[in-house]
């Protein structure tokens, strides 16, 4: 399951930011490393919500800056 979450998040991030999957690592910073803008990050959070059936409050979303952050967040919340 853990591996699946990581794969799924990596795939969503790669699609959302239009970068090759192999460029996306757990430590990739969305804005610095993957050249995403703030609007794209908002869109990513919504895509993660839909993919995992979560609601991510804004105060949590603001702390999510890397792929690893997303994976950890989803692992902690996913049932």
């Amino acid at each position: 399951m853990a591996e699946n979450i990581e794969e799924k998040v990596t795939k969503i991030v790669a699609e959302q930011f239009e970068v090759p999957v192999e460029k996306v690592t757990l430590s990739s910073l969305f804005m610095d490393d993957l050249k995403a803008d703030s609007l794209s990050v908002v869109e990513l959070v919504l895509a993660i919500e839909e993919a995992f059936g979560l609601e991510i409050p804004d105060e949590d979303a603001e702390k999510i800056k890397t792929v690893g952050d997303v994976v950890n967040y989803v692992k902690a919340r996913a049932k």
Binding site: Q16, F17, E18, L39, S40, V42, E43, L46, E50, E55
Partner: protein, 416 residues
């Protein structure tokens, strides 16, 4: 000696073709771009046809990601496609000091109407959090066609959008011409873009009884100046031009397609949709544009008419032309390319400016198709049904919009 303004590039996305050559050859062949609406189910609408752009793949010009997110509305996609074509046609590279001397004016009547409609429907179904894209605002606002082109081409001069209904594109080109002539800019990417073949777009104009309802023969529905015309035909697309200061264009060895020589903008101050008595505002606009070009009316050979195919416009515009040109009106070729493209609203002025440029550069005049039965009130040479090979000296393009707003552009060959 005032600065002169060369047209060095054009780009066209229209219902008769995606690209300059495809569009121009279709016009010369008298092909109609009008057909049944495919964008949405129009079964309940009184008008069920339009001029849709066909075979358009936005990823030829922008990334798949941008086509899905920040540039998802077709009005921005058409502008990006036509703008890219125009820049490639011109060969202009915007760098160094030229960046701050290059601007973008792209007009649109309504911007991202389709995205507004779709988002509103989703909002009803899914609620705000998952219905409204963070890109929504920047997808729909009118100035983003100009904004996205400025970003793509590093154009750091004036950047905004003229919004004047069906004259938006002409005002954008005219204002861009003035900026260069008056020394505020050296190059401008300018024109118009529109994409409102949507339920509210079609429904809105249908509610005004402005649209043709010839549902049994869509390709014959747009028949400007013909007695049996019954309204305009809604269409979509974009027409973008690259303008450059003449001496700078020559110095870099650019191909000069044509020259913009004059421009005027006026208002009727009369009624929201009906033209003023004897088309006073339009007459004044044509006269002022000719004066701005320092041309005698007899120097004009071709009028690209507003020619919408509505009961009201065509005789009114015919009268305007007679008043402005006097006896010379009988010698003019007065064509309506809308007979083939339909009415591209805010993009019409940009597209038709490009048509005037190609007519001058190539010595070819597109026809007014579907002209079969003369109307006693419309008695000029409308270039009926057959294109002509004729070298012309100067052309004028008319665009008139709801709200009583008018724009006229005067073009020359730019070879003297």
């Amino acid at each position: 000696m005032p600065r002169r303004v060369a047209v060095t590039g054009v780009g066209l996305v229209t219902p008769v073709g995606v690209g300059n050559e495809e569009t121009w050859q279709a016009l010369l062949a008298g092909v109609s771009g009008i057909g049944p609406i495919t964008r949405f189910d129009a079964i309940k609408f009184t008008t069920r046809f339009a001029g849709e752009v066909k075979g358009f793949d936005p990823t030829r010009w922008i990334s798949a990601r941008d086509a899905r997110a920040s540039m998802s509305d077709p009005f921005v996609q058409y502008a990006m496609a036509a703008g890219t074509m125009a820049m490639e046609d011109s060969g202009l590279v915007v760098d160094g000091e030229l960046a701050e001397r290059t601007g973008c004016f792209v007009g649109s009547g309504m911007g991202g109407l389709g995205t507004i409609e779709a988002t509103h429907l989703a909002l009803q179904a899914k609620g705000p959090r998952h219905a409204i894209s963070p890109f929504f605002v920047t997808q729909i606002i009118v100035n983003l066609a100009a904004g996205q082109l400025s970003i793509k081409y590093n154009a750091k001069g004036p950047c905004y959008s003229q919004v004047s209904a069906c004259s938006s594109g002409a005002h954008a080109v005219g204002d861009a011409f003035r900026l260069i002539r008056h020394g505020e800019a050296d190059a401008m990417i300018c024109g118009g873009s529109e994409a409102v073949v949507t339920p509210l777009g079609v429904g809105g104009f249908a509610a005004m009884h402005a649209l043709s309802t010839r549902n049994d023969a869509p390709s014959e529905a747009c028949r400007p100046f013909d007695r049996d015309r019954d309204g305009f035909v809604l269409a979509e697309g974009a027409g973008i031009l690259v303008l450059e200061e003449m001496e700078l264009a020559k110095k870099r060895g650019a191909r000069i397609h044509a020259e913009i020589e004059g421009y005027s903008a006026t208002a009727d101050a009369h009624h929201i949709t009906a033209p003023a008595v004897e088309g006073e505002g339009a007459q004044r606009c044509m006269r002022k544009a000719l004066a701005d070009a320092r041309l005698d009316p007899t120097a004009i050979d071709y009028v690209n008419a507003h020619g919408t195919s509505t009961r009201m416009n065509d005789p009114a515009e015919t009268l305007v032309i007679k008043k402005v040109f006097g006896d010379h009106a009988r010698r003019l070729m007065v064509g309506s390319t809308k007979s083939m493209t339909g009415h591209l609203l805010g993009a019409a002025g940009g597209v038709e400016a490009a048509f005037c440029v190609l007519a001058l550069a190539r010595g070819q005049i597109p026809p007014t198709i579907n002209y079969t039965t003369p109307d006693p009130e419309c008695d000029l040479d409308y270039v009926p049904n057959q294109a002509r090979e004729v070298r012309i000296r100067h052309a004028i393009s008319n665009s008139f919009g709801f709200g009583g707003t008018n724009a006229c552009l005067v073009f020359g060959r730019g070879d003297s």
